[in-house]
Amino acid sequence: MNKTVLSSLNAGLLDALSQDERVYLLGEDILDPYGGSFKVTKGCSSAFPQRVIATPISEAGLAGLSAGMALRGLRPVLEIMFGDFITLTFDQLVNHISKFRWMYNNTVNLPLVIRAPMGGRRGYGPTHSQTLEKLFMGVPGLTLVAPVNFVEDTLRQEPGNLLASIILQTSDPVLFIENKLQYLLPIHQPQDLPDLEISAFSVDKRSAPIFPVYKIKIAGAPAARVTLTAYGYLAELARQAMLKLAYEEELFCELILPTRLAPFDVADVVESVARTGRMVSIEEGGLSLGWGAEVIARVAESLPGAQLITRRVAARDLPVPAAPSLEKRVLPQVEDILRAVRKVARYGK
């Protein structure tokens, strides 16, 4: 069986638990035989019964509890059952967890990982389908990470390796953003994708853990005309759009996929846009004040005087509807990416 994002994350949790006794998993319904709503913790409680803890339905209290554990030397990992419920932890994240290190003048560490599965396309309706991480991207002191379903040959970092290395190495709070549909995706190995050239760089050379940025090109293609940037599950939709445009329309793009979303580091996007002058940002969260808005602003500031043609692909600013026909229209689809890229490529030509 091909490895999926889900099985990789599951292996990452087991690996972190076995490597360090300070690692604890907490969450609702995470014990075997159920193994969590999305099965990411499957097998963990059987292997490490003392350190995998079923909790009350108390997201706010659990965020606080795990922060206290982290402040006193443990490495807790908290699962939020549906990413939508992360709103319950808002005060803990904004007024407590993200603040302690800085406001205490760098005298504490807070190595906490909060995992939250976001995303729709399963008909779960307005309170179980959202992509809410943009609400946390501007909070100083919080690191946001989203894995992608690609590996390449130098860093060899699958989603599970990324998760395990964060759990074992971080000294600060990390929101690890997962996605319900991404769980089921196979992890693309370089040999599975002969059409693509994948390279990966570490975003911050000084930091451990390593947060890769992936740069994906069509193998042997002429210079890219448009820069695409996406993260998480939408990396997969962007890849599909990119191949279609290349093969059916000879419109060549390059795709930049950061795994660390915040703090922002857009150097690789800037480098690409400096060549293409055109970019499309792609995300599943709502359009207004989203990830793409910040990325584009930063790219524009980094290229003073350059002509920049951009569009954002994102969800409409509406609740995510339950009906499949409505949900499809509210959340960004491959077709929306195609349309946006064509528009940007065509502009002024």
């Binding site: 206290g68 005060d91 803990q92 007024n95 504490v108």
Partner: protein
Amino acid sequence: MMDELALFRAIYRIRRFEETVLEEFKRGVFSGTTHTSLGQEANAVGVITALREDDIIVTNHRCHGHYLAYGGDMRALFAEMMGRATGVCGGRGGSQHIHWRNLYSNGVQGGIVPIAAGMAFAEKQKMSGAVVTVFIGDGTFGEGIIYEAFNMARLWELPLLIVVENNHIAQTTPTSLVLAGSLASRLRAFDIPVAELDSSDASEIRVVAEKSTAFIRETSRPAALILNTVRFGPHSKGDDTRAEEEMRLLKLTRDPVRILAERLPLEQVSAVRDEINHWVAQAFSLALADPEAGLEDGLDE
């Protein structure tokens, strides 16, 4: 056993420090705000002197008394409130956001309680034997998150002492106006044993606190201590709406400084007062001369 002179010394140190804070606020020496524990000093001293060296203290907006009773340096706290680089947290936190050794405070009501429970969880797992003491006010019983924390603390048998400083008021609102039932019954609903005291006598509080921590160490279960008390000063700087006459009478009967002083020889009391007045004044002027806090990350460029 700690003698009463030492308790008096600790209480008077807080008193003089906080009187200085209120006096000097008027002159614009401090920035931001402050919440003094004037009248409640016996809680801080009674409880914290009952703790062991490696125990943990988690506190709130009204944290100066706890910090000072824990042995915190006066110059560093003055400096923190003056925005000086030498402050407890280099001026980043100010009055309500301090961390020193095993003491942590934050200025948002209630949110520290699950954090304290998590610390107790960690200490239990590490088998350190440490007890975590969290101080909260009566008004904070309006915040839902504390009940999530009470539940987890009892469920997982965490070594947590919940100290409720019940001054019967939250900012300007009498708690009777906003609280259904009673504080104790809310704690007991989680099967957390409650000891309740109506006293401003540090010796008396200390004895009860020692019993609570002994219970926690023995059973590794949480316990609560409700300390009925009187807030002498304003909520923060000058926002007191209570009747002056009522406050005058309470100050006669419920003053922790006076209660201890009356049991000690007069000359000892005045010697301690003189000595502490001197140290507080010195800490204040040293902090005043300290350099302003700055960012050293080149952000100003």
